[in-house]
């Protein structure tokens, strides 16, 4: 008995040590700041020119803590470095509330936000009031931001939005191209989405109200399972995101249905900063950001997301690859 107990104690101690180590490893995996990028811009086409005036300005670029945001943050950070700024990054902000607070208090110089999120989460708009047009949504958000001495730069070409997705087989079987095509067949199909989807007007509630659809069932699942349920054949339809890497990496397998009645508000990305920060940083700040986001259409962003989420590159590597292939940096 006694030896048993001692052995057990040793095992327990070993387990505790393991648990501790795991905890430490998990805590240590924050992304580090970036400082790569070419110093001297060469004069090839659209390459970013380094401006010596910018050297005395230090900028901190933030982002929320999921792959797409981190990639965007890296792209902006590396581009601004190429433009001659001293750049630090903080690409691990938990939510839009935290990120906005960090901008206001000056902890970060700015971060990329989805226009739809800004309008609904910061300014209390109903999702159905969010303009479908990207420029309109940006202007509306910018008006509100200006009241708080903030500023939002023009939107990216790509929009991130919810979408109704399905397998190519199901789409073929029922002849589905748009969400309206679901009329008459939706009663036979099950829809899976995040738990909050059921009540949201920019999700199930909107599909029911604007399209008049009724589904066989709605089943709440964790967002991380949105492709699993389709793959396992449990879900006929699943709420996906338009920027999902699976949509480009496995385009023979999954399709999204066109949102012909615009239930899902456009979430083009706008860079949010403080007016005073933008003034201090000079004209290259806005110019550089707008320049590098020009190439960010839906396909490019899906591929960048795929590099990180499927091929396991770091957001930093993906961002560098994008900037180099587009010729912004060498």
């Amino acid at each position: 008995m006694r030896t048993d107990k001692t052995r057990w104690r040793a095992l327990l101690a070993a387990l505790a040590a393991m648990a501790l180590t795991l905890g430490i490893v998990a805590c240590g995996s924050d992304s580090d700041s970036s400082s790569t990028g070419s110093e001297e811009g060469s004069s090839s086409g659209s390459a970013i020119q380094s401006n010596p005036d910018n050297e005395k300005v230090t900028l901190t670029i933030g982002s929320k803590n999921f792959p797409e945001q981190e990639i965007l943050g890296e792209i902006y950070a590396q581009a601004l470095t190429a433009a001659g700024y001293k750049v630090k990054s903080a690409l691990n902000l938990g939510s839009e509330t935290v990120a906005l607070k960090a901008v206001k208090t000056g902890q970060i110089s700015g971060y990329p936000e989805y226009a739809s999120t800004a309008l609904t989460s910061f300014f209390g708009l109903e999702p159905e009031e969010v303009p479908a047009d990207a420029t309109e949504a940006w202007e509306k958000a910018n008006q509100e931001f200006e009241k708080e001495d903030l500023q939002a730069f023009e939107p990216t070409p790509f929009a991130s939005a919810n979408a109704v997705g399905t397998t190519t087989e199901t789409a073929k079987k029922y002849g589905l191209k748009t969400i309206s095509d679901l009329e008459g067949v939706s009663e036979k199909l099950s829809l899976y989405g995040s738990p909050e989807c059921r009540q949201r007007i920019d999700c199930l509630a909107g599909l029911e109200k604007l399209y008049g659809l009724k589904f066989k069932s709605f089943n709440p699942v964790d967002i991380g399972l949105r492709y699993t349920v389709l793959e396992k054949g449990q879900a006929d339809l699943s709420i996906l995101f338009t920027t999902d890497p699976q949509l480009s990496a496995e385009k023979d397998k999954y399709v999204i249905l066109e949102d012909d009645k615009e239930v899902f508000p456009a979430g083009n990305v706008i860079f949010v900063t403080k007016k005073s920060v933008a003034e201090e940083a000079g004209p290259d700040f806005e110019k550089t950001i707008l320049q590098v986001q020009e190439g960010l259409d839906l396909k490019v962003v899906q591929e960048l997301d795929a590099r990180v989420e499927i091929e396991k590159e770091t957001p930093k590597q993906a961002a560098t690859a994008y900037l180099e292939s587009a010729g912004y940096i060498e």
């Binding site: 387990l15 910061f122 109903e126 007007i201 109200k209 709440p220 991380g224 699993t228 349920v229």
Partner: protein, 236 residues
């Protein structure tokens, strides 16, 4: 942040439980209210009881048997402790890939939480029964099965029930993550702050806490009924 969410208040949470409230993401449809709360509460209870039943069927006989034989201490207590370290959220995601989402996923995963305390307490409860009592029973010609049923289990009731009580509470509290795997429990109010607001979150927490207290109270009553008079503390 002109439209920051109002801070939660107990008044607000109770209003949420009894009358449907406005939400700014539902396009005018009201959320919460008594019917919805009751519906989620019943589902929550259903999932909890199912998971507890699975845990009991597996852990109780095993714990009693091992305790009776006096074997497998490392197994009974080791498994018990290791089981507590399993992150349920990760298991739910893992099981979702294997067998999909829904009650068939959630109930067994939650049962994993109930097994450790039930197994360990059943083992310890039986183990601590005075050996001379067991020997006396054996000397009277009782079969091993009869010894477990008529001697060891009745004496171990307080410890065994203690395990079942903590298992039940662990399952009930963790059932709040079930909406992430296709089963809408009271966790729906807690997980979807964007829809229900802070009051909804607090309402969910209050309902789960009340449910836990009720279950705990009922099991304590049951324990008292099951404990033989000779083992009860005499209150003069």
């Amino acid at each position: 942040m002109t439209a920051a969410l109002p801070l939660a208040s107990f008044t607000g949470a109770f209003e949420f439980i009894f009358t449907p409230q406005d939400s700014n993401v539902t396009g005018g449809k009201k959320v919460g209210g008594f019917d919805k709360s009751l519906e989620l509460l019943v589902k929550h209870l259903e999932v909890t009881l199912l998971a507890l039943a699975i845990a009991l069927v597996i852990a109780l006989p095993l714990g009693l048997y091992l305790g009776h034989r006096g074997k497998g201490e490392q197994f009974a207590i080791g498994l018990g402790n290791a089981g507590r370290a399993i992150p349920e959220l990760a298991v739910i995601a893992l099981v979702a890939v294997l067998i999909g989402v829904g009650l068939a996923n959630v109930a067994p995963v939650l049962a994993i939480l109930g097994i450790p305390p039930i197994l360990t307490n059943a083992y310890v409860g039986v183990r601590q029964v005075d050996r001379s009592t067991v020997d006396a029973a054996r000397g009277m010609g009782m079969s091993e099965m009869a010894i477990i049923r008529k001697v060891e289990l009745p004496i171990a009731v307080p410890t065994v029930m203690g395990g079942i009580r903590s298992g039940a509470i662990a399952i009930l509290a963790t059932a709040t993550i079930a909406p992430l795997a296709g089963v809408e429990t009271l966790g729906d109010f807690i997980l979807n702050r964007n829809v229900y607001g802070e009051n909804g979150l607090l309402a969910g927490a209050i309902l789960v806490a009340l449910l836990a207290l009720t279950i705990e109270g009922l099991l304590a009553l049951l324990q008292r009924r099951l404990t033989s008079d000779g083992l009860k503390l005499k209150t003069v």
